[in-house]
């Protein structure tokens, strides 16, 4: 096997978290090498107009997504079932190539609720320990909102996020989210213009007594230069946002916000078409010595490094930990072990609203992150005592932009083809909006990740196996939100509603898109027995290994994850720079 020249830091995966860690550590003077399995990509030529605004190549044929023929996962609902491969893209859409899912994401840019980071303590204090049902493995995350605040702020400044503060250093501000946790600065850019769905949503929810606010969006509302000196142009609501690379340098991505500056640093290097197989450790398994990857020719190469960072997206970060044998794998029978534990997802209820022919929604216009939302039912913003479930989420009226190949929603009972179908698409296309509730997903003893005993990827490595299904607590919460959605839809003036609201008895359906907000599996925490990384995202077992991504979440939050994923990467980088580099070793004693 060929062995490369050693580097100070090797970063596995070059999407959002990889780019953040790379620039922060390169700026600290380290020799940084990023290994990315996919190809290089930049706005021009990859997402040039009109090449990329192509529903067939991008949406119908998954242009920017991980090629499942090379690598996928297997899925089952329960540990006694046989897991089957995720053969076609459905419920989630992992990315590939430079920029990762940071290219084809939507841009909803949230933070976290302070109470979510100490959920077990919070629920126990407010409702008593017995309120937490048997089998729900809630735990505190070991880090506080106050510690993370400067890093949330930093990531918003980098992204040029559009929004309106509701709580500026404890001061309530008109026009923002009244439930917001305190923020040190206003958003870098003002909110985007409300498309029709969002305007109707704001009016209706205000009249119902709720508190609508403009959803923070990493789609620039104005020209902007970020702290690294990268420039964004204003979003023009092109309607090709989620699933697509941005034609206008408006959606924050590694390419638009970090890479132009990083690529000029002589101590940074990128190697593409480098698929990392595992993290190598010394004979005691205590020190990472580098990684092994497969290069474009299919040859295995060893890359020695003083420090290893996993930034390969949730699925691959967890798989790499398991394949490398770092940390004790979780055993659902005994509840012992931790790698794979607390694997969670997110519940998305989606309701299409059909309006009268004089109400123009024009669903083809829109941007991934634009919308109005309410958090009256987020987290523990409402009393759960009588409701008897834990969790909550955001309800929003977003208008993300939709074209006909992506699917034209129709009222229930409409035929799927023939003249009746034609009449229905013609009548409804311009007059259809959508509202959604995006909900937390608690952690459960029986929901976890391990390696599949049967199926392998194109490199001969066992696939990651997901064992997960919706649980009673979360489905009861979902039913509660179903009622709210229907109430809001009516108040918006919809003449009919159709869609998907998860109810008791529903199983996780992997065919329909839910979201790519997959969480947990290498939880962060204060206790090395129940967490894989400490509060600085440093492996408890191998102190020169740092693990980024939503896999460090201890449960599935209701917000979109990337605001928190990005802030945690900045927080980890700041602590590496301030403390770890001066004296490498465990930042917390286990």
């Amino acid at each position: 096997m060929a062995t490369n020249k050693p580097v100070d830091v090797v970063i596995v995966g070059f999407g959002w978290t990889g780019a953040i860690m790379a620039i922060e550590l390169a700026q600290a003077g380290l020799n940084v090498l990023a290994l990315e399995r996919g190809e290089d990509a930049t706005t021009v030529p990859n997402w040039a107009y009109p090449k990329v605004v192509d529903e067939i190549s991008q949406s119908a044929r998954n242009g920017l997504l991980q090629n499942l023929s090379k690598s996928t996962v297997t899925i089952r609902h329960h540990k006694d079932d046989r897991a089957l491969p995720y053969r076609q893209i459905g419920s989630f859409k992992p990315g590939t190539g430079v920029g990762g899912a940071g290219i084809h994401w939507s841009g909803v840019h949230s933070r976290v609720m302070p109470q979510e980071l100490r959920l077990r303590s919070h629920i126990t204090e407010r409702y008593g320990a017995r309120f937490i049902p048997e089998g729900m493995t809630l735990q505190d995350w070991g880090v506080t909102y106050e510690e993370l605040e400067p890093h949330f702020d930093r990531f918003e400044q980098v992204c040029g996020t559009s929004g309106k503060a509701g709580n500026l250093q404890g001061r309530a501000l008109e026009g923002g989210n009244p439930f917001e946790a305190p923020r040190s600065h206003e958003f870098p850019l003002p909110p985007l213009t409300d498309p029709p769905t969002s305007a109707l949503f704001a009016k209706a929810t205000r009249e119902l007594g709720y508190h609508p606010y403009p959803l923070p969006a990493a789609n620039a509302s104005r020209p902007y230069t970020n702290p690294y000196g990268c420039q964004l142009g204003p979003c023009n609501f092109c309607g090709f946002c989620s699933d697509y690379g941005c034609i206008n340098y408006s959606k924050a991505s590694p390419q638009t916000t970090i890479l132009p500056v990083l690529y000029r640093m002589p101590n940074f290097a990128l190697r593409t078409q480098a698929h990392v197989l595992k993290v190598n450790t010394d004979s005691a398994g205590k020190v990472a010595t580098g990684v092994t990857y497969v290069d474009a020719q299919g040859h295995e190469v060893e890359q020695p490094a003083t420090m290893v960072v996993l930034a390969a997206f949730h699925l691959h970060n967890v798989r790499l930990m398991l394949s490398s044998g770092i940390g004790q794998p979780y055993d659902p029978g005994t509840g012992q072990g931790k790698v794979g534990r607390n694997f969670c997802y997110q519940l998305l209820n989606s309701v299409n609203l059909f309006f009268d022919k004089n109400v123009y929604i024009n669903q083809f216009m829109g941007a991934g992150g634009v919308g109005q939302a309410i958090e009256d039912f987020y987290g523990d913003n409402f009393d759960h005592g009588k409701l008897g479930f834990i969790g909550g989420g955001v309800i929003w009226g977003r208008q993300t932009g939709n074209g006909p190949v992506r699917g034209i929603p129709l009222p229930s009972g409409s035929p799927a083809w023939g003249s009746g179908w034609k009449a229905a698409v013609k009548k409804n296309f311009l007059h259809t909006g959508r509202i959604e509730s995006q909900l937390s997903n608690m952690a459960y003893r029986g929901c976890y990740l391990d390696l599949d005993p049967t199926y392998r990827d194109a490199y001969g490595t066992p696939l990651l196996r997901m064992t997960l299904n919706w649980q009673d607590n979360d489905l009861r919460m979902s039913e509660f939100f179903g009622e709210k959605l229907s109430q809001i839809g009516k108040a918006m003036g919809a003449t009919s509603q159709s869609g998907r609201v998860l109810k008791r008895g529903d199983n996780w359906d992997t065919r329909a898109y839910q979201s790519t907000h997959i969480n947990g599996g290498t939880a962060m925490g204060a206790d090395p027995k129940t967490s894989v990384v400490n509060k600085y995202l440093q492996s408890w077992d191998v102190s020169n290994l740092f693990v980024l991504g939503a896999n460090v979440f201890a449960h599935g939050i209701g917000y979109n994850p990337t605001g928190l994923v990005g802030a945690l990467a900045y927080w980890s980088a700041a602590n590496i720079r301030a403390t770890y580099l001066k004296s490498p070793g465990p930042l917390v004693r286990g």
Partner: protein
């Protein structure tokens, strides 16, 4: 059609941003070769323009299959008072052309065995590629039509064809060879919709007629001045190759 239709503003903007975008890059390995030689850089042009043609000859489908595809397209999206039908817009050509893409060989799916039938929630669990689905699916439907009505699908009346397709869709009519409802909903229907509503460069949606029917402006992709107004959008569609409808 206004000449100042908003396209210009974005192009101007792009030109400006391009001028400002910092020059990449310090990279090694694969990408270095590309950026240093400047030769293998991926192109910014779209896929080739292959609009529907009047005298199309299928390259994957046999003549019997081609007749089936045309007949099925004519029932799935018939020409009627609401707008043009799938056949007129070239949808069969779209489907035949797609058979030449990696997708048609299962190239973007995980196709390693073992294969087990699972609950529907676990999605597609067959080793049949799209090409094989069409080959076997059409044959199985024609076999059923022969058994019941002594004729291939194409020879049935429109009402009989609708009835056969509806029963297949519901699952009440199927084959021991392959689940026909999967062939119908997961392949045929899906591809018909793609061809009907996709860009004309892929062979369907001739003259953007499907877009005009529903009021979709195609790839204009520039709505800054319009997004805040809940009003009819005044301009007709534009295609990837810049044609206007």
């Amino acid at each position: 059609m206004s000449s100042n239709d908003g396209q210009t503003s974005r192009r101007d903007f792009l030109a400006t941003t391009l001028a400002l975008a910092p020059l990449a890059v310090t990279v090694v390995g694969q990408t270095a070769a590309q950026s240093i030689n400047g030769e293998q850089l991926p192109s910014s042009s779209p896929a080739p323009d292959h609009p529907s043609v009047p005298d199309y000859r299928p390259s994957y489908f046999t003549s019997a299959e081609w007749a089936f595809i045309n007949a099925a397209c004519a029932r799935i999206i018939p020409a009627d008072e609401h707008g043009p039908g799938a056949v007129e817009l070239g949808v069969p050509q779209y489907i035949d052309r797609q058979m030449g893409t990696p997708w048609a060989d299962g190239g973007i799916w995980y196709m390693q065995g073992p294969f087990f039938a699972g609950a529907p929630e676990f999605g597609y669990q067959s080793q049949l590629t799209p090409k094989q689905q069409y080959r076997m699916g059409i044959k199985a439907i024609d076999t059923l039509c022969h058994e019941r009505l002594n004729m291939p699908f194409v020879a049935l009346t429109a009402a009989q064809q609708d009835d056969v397709l509806k029963q297949i869709e519901k699952g009440s009519l199927t084959s021991t060879e392959l689940p026909l409802s999967t062939f119908f909903s997961g392949f045929l229907l899906r591809n018909v919709m793609e061809g009907y509503f996709g860009d004309p460069m892929y062979g369907g949606n001739k003259d953007m007629a499907a877009w005009k029917m529903i009021g979709y402006p195609g790839v204009r992709a520039d709505y800054l001045e319009w997004v805040g107004q809940a009003k009819p959008y005044p301009y007709g569609p534009v295609s990837i190759y810049g044609k206007r409808g």
